[in-house]
Structure formats: C-alpha cells, structure tokens
Symmetry: C2
Subunit: 305 residues, 2 copies
C-alpha cells in the first residue's frame, strides 16, 4: 500500500481530532484539557486528549494513535484470521464522551485504518462507526440519531445503513447481561470493498455526522433538571459501559494485547462508577423502562414508532 | 468420585459462609444484609449474601455456589486442558470485602472444589487461597498476614507456603498495568496431590486463617482518621480491582463463560470507583509509595524487612 495514502489518513484523523476538541471547548469553555503526545520508537506515536471536569462534560477522551507492529493480533480482524501474525500499520481516532447530566447520553466514535504489510492489494481495511448510550432515553433523539446515520450512508449504496446499523446492534451487546449497550448507530469493519478513496470519504462523512448529531442532542438536553436519583442511575449504568469495554470490546482487547499506552487505552472509562448489588426500587424502574424502550434493537426509522 | 465426599465439601462451604457472615455482623451490626438463595434446575444452586452500607464495610460479597455442567470451560483448569469439555461439578465460596476506611485493605478469599465426572481417580481438584489489597500499606500488617499464611501451611509440608505464596504473586498480577494487585497471600489450584481428606482439611484451615488474619487488621485500622484525598485514592485504586477482575480473573471469566447468575459473579465489584485520567499530585505520591513498598512481590518474612 502506498505510503502517501496512509499518511493522508493519518493527517486527516489528526485534524479531525483537533476539530472535535475545539467544538467541545466551544461548548464547555471551562473544561480542563489534558494533552499528551507520546512516541514509542520511530513508528508508534499518538496524542491523547482528555477533557474533564467541565460543566457539560465530565470526561471526554479523544484519542489518536498510529502504530506499527510485527505481528497482527487476532483481535484486529475477525474476518481475516489468515493475516494474524503479519506485520501491520494501524491508526485510529477514538472518542468517548461521558457527560455530567444523566439526561445527556454517553457517545462513542471510532475511525480506523488497518494495513497488513504485504504484497496483496486488499490488505487494508477501514473500520469504525458510532453509537449512543442513553441513561434516560428520548424517542425523538433516537430517531434523529438514526436518521442522520441513514443520511450519511445514502451516498454509499442501498442497504449500507441497514447493514452497518445491524452490525452495530450485534457488536454493542453486553453479552453477559443480555443487554444492548445503547441504541446503536453505525458499525463497520473490514471495509475495503469500495475504492480506497470512497472508503476514506465515508470515514470523513461518518466523523462529521457523529459530532453534529451528538452535539445537537447535548445542546438540547444539557439543561434538563435532574435529581440525585437520576444521577445515581447514571453512575450505576456506567458500570455496564466498563463491563462492555473490559470484557468484550475488541479495540480495548487489541490495545491490551498489543501492550499500548495503558492510560490512553483506558482513558475511555467513565470518571465515576458504582456497582450496587441491589439498586433501589426507583433505579430498577428507570432500568426497566430503559431496557424495554431503548436497549432492545429496533428499527428507529419505522413509521410505527 | 463418591457423592458423599462432594456433599461434605458442599455442606462445609455453606457453613463457612454462614460463619463468616456472622462474624461480619458481629463487627458491624448496622450493616444491611442482602440474602439471595437461588436455584437453576435441580443441580445448580447457591446463596449470594452481600453485606453493604455498614460503618466498617461498604460492601462485602459472600458467595456460595454449587453447579453442574455438561462441558468444563477452558478457564476452569489451566493445567488440565484435556478435561475441557467433560461433564463436571463445581462448588465454591468466594469472599470479597470492600471496607469504607481507606486504611483498611480490601481482602479476597476463594475456596473451591472441581470434579470432572469420569472414571479417573484424580478428576477432582481443590483450589483457592486469599490475598490482601491495601491502599495505604502497613509493614507490620503485611508481615502478620504472611506469618499467618505460613503458619497455616506448616502442617502441609516443606515449601507449601513458599510455593502457594509464589503462585499468589504470579496470579494476582494486573498484567496490563505491570502491577501486583496487592501484597499476596496464598493461591493454589489443581490441588490433588494429597489425599482428599488432607486437601479438604487444608481448605478448612485456610478459611479459618483468612478470617482471623483479616479481622485482626480490620479491628486495628478501622478507626484511623482519613481525609478526602485518602478516600479519593481508595476510589481510584479500586479501579485496578475492577480491571483485574474483568480482564484477567479466571473465576470471573469462568462465571461469564458458564453463563452463571450474573449478579452473583459480579457482586465482588467495588461499590464506588473512579477512573480519573490524571490523578492529583498527592494521589500520584500515594501511588508511588504503595507500588514501591507494597505492590512489588517480596519476601515478607525475611529478617531484613
């Protein structure tokens, strides 16, 4: 694969990171910025920016990294086990936002490029997507979220939204709890069946759609009044996020297997979490509503909603 | 393997659970008791007791379970991969204590019996042990903890303490952080090289030693004055406990693979946890002291300490 192609993606991911950070600071000017650029050898580098203790956002991790490795870990590609063990180059931008107000959902985005270094033409693939994890859901927001996801896919062929939406529901499943992590969105991996340029354009469009859809919800919900119980519920449900990331998430497992910068890999964990054995009756009620109405895969764009 | 032998262990584990619970309530009388007995089919049952919101203890999980399965998961035995897939019976008592005062350490104990149902005589093995996770360590307490562990092993042959102590250090290692989880103690698995009776007696002695050593430390440290920063440090370091349990712990992975009662398997998680990206300077100082002096495997019974 041509070096310039890789460098173009690298440079765009890095700019996209800066753009997202500026938008957050624009919304939440008193937020504290931790900005760590790191380098390991000549071929591994990254920039981890964590914005914390803002009025709106309690902790947002915006993580860019670009690494080379001698041996592709199994977790890197489910569909290409034949490539496990190859030398590779991988780069990605990962964003996880934990807002303070329990009526504002947690959101996640990942955009990445893998390239197994070899002769074959198809040894590159893009992956990524975005998904939303509400604590108290809003049907209107969920519909808008999925409408925007469908819009971004429209230029990329029939069923692209349906396909990536379904993959998202399948991936963000907290198996041991038999629960969805959230209301989904888009998830794609091993994306190399379009031209490189088309795949890369898709990545760019996904990045743009994510921030505009998410900030729209943030602005709409950030002033919602909440009680201690609402906040308790958010702390409790954040536990599910930790469970998913540490037990099931391929990106986290890849990082831990690869032995990357641990503070960057785990920067996505929520700032504060609780694991009560027995949630209060109110919390159980909130949970049952959330699970039934939002954390069950559904067609958010159906007429019947 | 004779049915009565299994039933004797089952009955003792269950009594040991009740004894431990009484001791906790004796020490911390206002603690709230959640007591859930459960049954799944005719061959899977357990009792999960979680004591929470006490003056001394924030959350203690005391978990007994006895289960049968058609196919032994790989996580059940590292040394007997040949038995993966066999029908089996497994039972265990697992205790994790999260005290409120950051000067009182977190403690863990596990006592278990596995039996692969087949013809071979040696298809049973005991496992378990105990370990201690201080936030602010005390050399005196660490020495007493290991002295008591050595004492319990003394009747079971030369080097039994050294062997199980070394296995404990090897097991309770938070690999992705390159840190020990605590100051260790005892860890044994695949224990069947003594007679069944001798192994079972060892289990009983380990159970007794755990509670007496731990409660001695609890009584000594429970009134220690602490600041918000000490407490913050405890919340932060509890994150490591979660990381170990969800990423590395074989017992947890076994439970998740087996699809057991999820609230029981994860009852051991701390009640409240934080993941700050950048701990404060004081927290970093506490951490560096803890890592250097306590969370590095050492011979706690050496004369030179």
């Amino acid at each position: 694969m041509e070096k310039t192609k890789i460098e173009n993606v690298e440079s765009w991911l890095s700019k996209e990171q800066a753009r997202f950070i500026s938008e957050v600071i624009g919304l939440d000017s008193s937020i504290i910025k931790h900005d760590d650029s790191w380098k390991k050898g000549s071929e591994n580098f990254g920039r981890t920016v964590v914005l914390s203790d803002g009025n709106i956002f309690e902790k947002i991790a915006v993580n860019f990294s670009s690494i080379s490795g001698d041996s592709l870990p199994e977790a890197a590609s489910a569909k290409r086990p034949d490539l496990a063990g190859s030398a590779f180059r991988a780069m990605g931008l990962s964003i996880v936002s934990h807002p303070r107000n329990p009526f504002v959902p947690t959101a996640h985005q990942n955009l990445r490029l893998f390239s197994a270094l070899g002769e074959e033409k198809s040894n590159w693939w893009f992956g990524g997507g975005y998904d939303l994890t509400p604590y108290f859901g809003f049907i209107e927001d969920s519909i808008n979220w999925h409408r925007s996801a469908k819009k971004v896919c429209a230029a990329y062929g029939v069923n692209t939204y349906e396909n990536f939406k379904e993959q998202c529901d399948a991936y963000f499943n907290v198996k041991h709890r038999k629960e969805q992590r959230g209301i989904g969105g888009l998830f794609f991996d091993d994306l190399n069946y379009w031209t490189f340029e088309k795949c890369f354009n898709f990545l760019k469009d996904v990045g743009k759609a994510f921030s505009s859809s998410y900030f729209e919800i943030v602005k709409k919900r950030k002033e919602t009044a909440y009680t201690k119980e609402h906040r308790d519920f958010q702390q409790y449900r954040r536990g599910r996020y930790v469970e998913f990331n540490l037990v099931h998430d391929r990106g986290t497992l890849f990082g831990l297997q690869f032995g990357g910068r641990i503070n960057s890999i785990l920067a996505s964990l929520p700032p504060t979490v609780t694991w009560p054995y027995e949630p209060s009756e109110n919390l159980k009620k909130y949970e049952s509503d959330l699970l039934t109405e939002f954390l069950t895969p559904k067609d958010w764009l159906s007429e019947n909603l």
